[in-house]
Structures are given as C-alpha cells and as structure tokens.
Subunit: 310 residues, 2 copies
Amino acid sequence: MLGGGIGASRLAVPLAKALGPGRLTMVVNTADDLWHHGLRICPDLDTNMYALGGLSDRQRGWGVQGDTFRAMGQLGRLGEDVWFNLGDLDLATHLKRTGLLRGGATLSEVTADLAANLGFGTRLLPMTDHEVATVVHTAAGEIGFQEWFVRRRAQDPVTGVGYRGIEAAQPAPGVIEAIRAADLLVIGPSNPVASIAPILALSGVREAVASRPSIAVTPVVHGVPITGEGEERRARSRAAMLGALAMEHRSRAVASFYMGVASAFVVDVHDAEEEGAIADMGLDVVVAPTLITDEATGANLASVVLSRAM
Amino acid sequence: MLGGGIGASRLAVPLAKALGPGRLTMVVNTADDLWHHGLRICPDLDTNMYALGGLSDRQRGWGVQGDTFRAMGQLGRLGEDVWFNLGDLDLATHLKRTGLLRGGATLSEVTADLAANLGFGTRLLPMTDHEVATVVHTAAGEIGFQEWFVRRRAQDPVTGVGYRGIEAAQPAPGVIEAIRAADLLVIGPSNPVASIAPILALSGVREAVASRPSIAVTPVVHGVPITGEGEERRARSRAAMLGALAMEHRSRAVASFYMGVASAFVVDVHDAEEEGAIADMGLDVVVAPTLITDEATGANLASVVLSRAM
C-alpha cells in the first residue's frame, strides 16, 4: 500500500487485519515531515504507526490516545508559538527518532525500530531516507506543507506545489522490491498531490507501480456533506492542491492523476455518476462505499480492495 | 558569579535577592552539557534558571517543581534506556533551545530568551557558545560527564579528566566584560574540577578573574556527615575528580585550585582547622557556615560573601 496519513491509516488497519500479520507492507509519504523544536517529526509515518499499533486517538484523528500536552503548554509559557501540538507521549517517538538520526541511523532503521517496539505485523517503510519537503506556493510566499495545513489551516489559496529535494532523493531500501513483489498495490485514499505524488516521483517508483496490478481508492466523496473541522480542512487542502494543478476536486480528477499508474479505481457510491468518465480513462472502476467510520465499513472496503488480488 | 549547577544555584538565589534585580551576573559552566535524544541539554544553566525563576524542585534537587515524566515513560516503552530523566515541563526548555540552535541562534541568545520569558533579574551567561565536553577517564574508558555522574552514579574511579573542545572554545559574548566590570567575583560552591576549571580554562578568563577582587566558597564540608543520595553522589564525584588530580577532598585542596585566581576563600565552620593551611597559600580566609539548607542560611552566606565587596 502507498499512502499518506489519516486517510491511508483508516484503510491500512482493516487491510492488515484481513490479511493477517506480515502480509501488508506500507510505503508512506515523508514529504510532509518537518523539523520543529529541534525534532524530526514524521506525521504520516506516525499516524500509521499509532493506528496499526492500536495507540491512535480516533476521536481527535491524530496523536496518541490519552495523551497530555504539558510540554507544549510550558513551551507556550516560554514564549513559543505552539502551532504544531505534540503530546507528551507522542514526544517520545520524536525524541527517539531524532536521537537515532543524530547518531547516524537512517529513517528506515528508526521506523523499523519504533515499529518493532510497538509490536505490530505490518511492515512500515518511509518512501525515502532523504529529506524531501512539500512546499505550497501562496500569495504569502512558499510555505512548508505543515505550516500551511496546520498553522494556517489550509486557508491560503495555492498557486503551485513543489517537492524540495525530490530529485536527489532515492526510494528507501526495500521500497522498489516491495512494490515489485506485491500481489496487489493499493493506493490509499490520500491526498494525491500531498501524499501520493511524492512517492510516485521517486526514481523507479512509478515504473514499479505500473508493472503490478493496482487499485487506487478515491479520497474524494462529493455526494455527502463533510462534517468536522479536520475532515473539512483535509477536503479543503485536497481541493486547493488539485486546483493548483488545474484539477477539480472530484474523483475523476484523482483518477486522471493515476492514469498509467493504477489499473483499477474505487469511486464512492455517492459519486457513482463519475463511473463513466473514469472508465473512459482505461481504469477498471469499482463503485463501493469508501467512507470508513467504524470497523464494519473498514472491513467492507478492505474486502472490496482485496477482491482485486484474487 | 562563576558556577556550576546545584551548589551554585543555592547561593545564587540569596545573592540575587540581597543584591536586587540586575546586579548579579552569572557565568555558568556548560562543559557538562550533552546531546541526548536529539536535544541539547544544559543541566547547569537550567538548574540556575529554574532556581532563579522560582521553578525548581527543591526536594528532588533538579528539574521543575510538579513535573511529570510521561514522555520518558513512553520512551522506555519504545525500548530506550532512559538514564537522564527529563520531565515533561523541563522538556519544553530543551525543545525551545534545540529548535533555536538548529535555526542558527547561539546558546547565549537562547539563554537570554529563556531567561526573559521566565522573567528574573539575574543575567545568566553560558561560559561559551561553543560545545565543550567534560570527559572522565575510567577503567571502562573515557565517559561523558553526565553518563558517568548520572547513569553510572559516579561509581567508576577516575584516573583523569579532560575538556574536549576547550582549546577552540571562546568565552561567550559579555563574559570577559562582565568579569572585568565586577565589583566582586564570587566563585560558587561548585565542583572545582567539573564546574569551575572549564570556565577558568577559557581564553582570557583566568587573567580577567585574577584582576578583580574575588571570593571562592568551598563546596567541601568535611566536618559534618553527608545525607541524601544526591549529596553523597556530588561529594563522591568531587572526591573522585580531585583525586584524579592527586588532590584531597578537603577545602585546602579546593583553595589550592584557586591560588592565583581568587583573593579570598570561605571555609566552613566545621572545617575551621583548614584555616591556617589556606591562609598560608596567600588567600584571605573567611570561616562561616556554608551549608545552605533554608532561606536564613542562604541569606547569611550571601551577606558573608557580599561583605567582601564593601
């Protein structure tokens, strides 16, 4: 599976459960990663790690369940603008990661170490061990993705998107091999521009993905109202980033993004009218419920996706 | 005042109170600083900052009052050996510092920023903006000071002491000027080898100190039993480090360390028999109670010391 953060993790958990231990490998976007307060923070890796490790806070949608925010509260008292809120338990992940990176370990090694200590059966691979940074072009200048998305709440209109360092970055060890060995590749319901494009842009990844049977799940569900600030912001950011590439915020635009890469595409039942346009792009279209709101909807989408591997 | 951590901070607080805001400048040892879990930690600066800012945990002797240890607990669950325990509130200091250092700020700038946010009237200067590391030579090899003192509880016999990086280090901005402008220099009741020697070893500091009236306070009180694991360990570390330099763990040995630097020396009332030997070194000897156990004993020692400035 290729994916970003929250959207991908919601599908990864039921996929991992359906497949059983050791059968799912995730290649996770790291272009949203950032240095903050001296720490290396990998939001997408951590979201998946916490979700797969059973630690994630489902209500809040990010971070560790039952976390407290004492260090960040104190940082505020020390005059810092705390816009990227890190829980005290969550901090342990970033402290361990940063310490190991400073000691010369690669992000792949750190990620494997963290996953081993949390003990879950899914192999989690960062897309690269190099530093890549998604940058959003706005009227206020070029802004790092997390600063735009978290600090500025994805409010600035986006005129362009760049991935700093992507040319020099290489896929992390095992990424190309895992893709080439996959029975089925799943492109998660992630922001295609923020989360999937950087993975596909790494040397050799697009070709490797195109060589295997694959199915992409739409992150866009147009036919139902969006509720919750988090979901709204995620939709707004997808729309803004697709818009910067002159694309609509519709499943057919996401599908066009994966033309020549994915062989099948899951469109939501609420957007069944997109089916024809997507089929015309040469993709096998599956119409299914894609909103994962509980265990049953997750298990259902996982089985829809996995039926392509038969 | 020149000083290290706990011992110096106990005298700094009543000195600052007696002098009033803006009249005490502290030059603090940074040779015990360390990189740990990716963070830059400055134990001596922080101990003084928390003490002067009214945040310190007096019972524990280190860290912030009322702190919790959730991040460290989680680090343990992530497989880390947590030997340098950082509280969740304390972490905010290291996060802010490390973030600013990564952004190109100097330790002096970071320290001034932290102090300004905590709002106290003592000027706190790191001895240098360069990285210096006190290293203890033991049968187990050369060990960083904090690893020897905290992790290994100062148990390994010491055969030598080194200060890595000291030759290349320069005094931080304002250090030499503050010393040369001082009405009186106070050398705190700190470990002379661990805390004071690195300050004096910086280019120009020894000469600047020798040019001004100065009074050193003994950290050694021989005539009364030591209680508490922290006090015992601090005494053991002083004895071990003085021993590595073929010196006894007595006030006369500390005084000899300051010959040609300090003009006066405070020996504890319990060790009055040291007076003659110290006077023979050409130091003015003051015999006074030096153990600070409460506000009254602190105020008394501050007034003994400050009487030298008259």
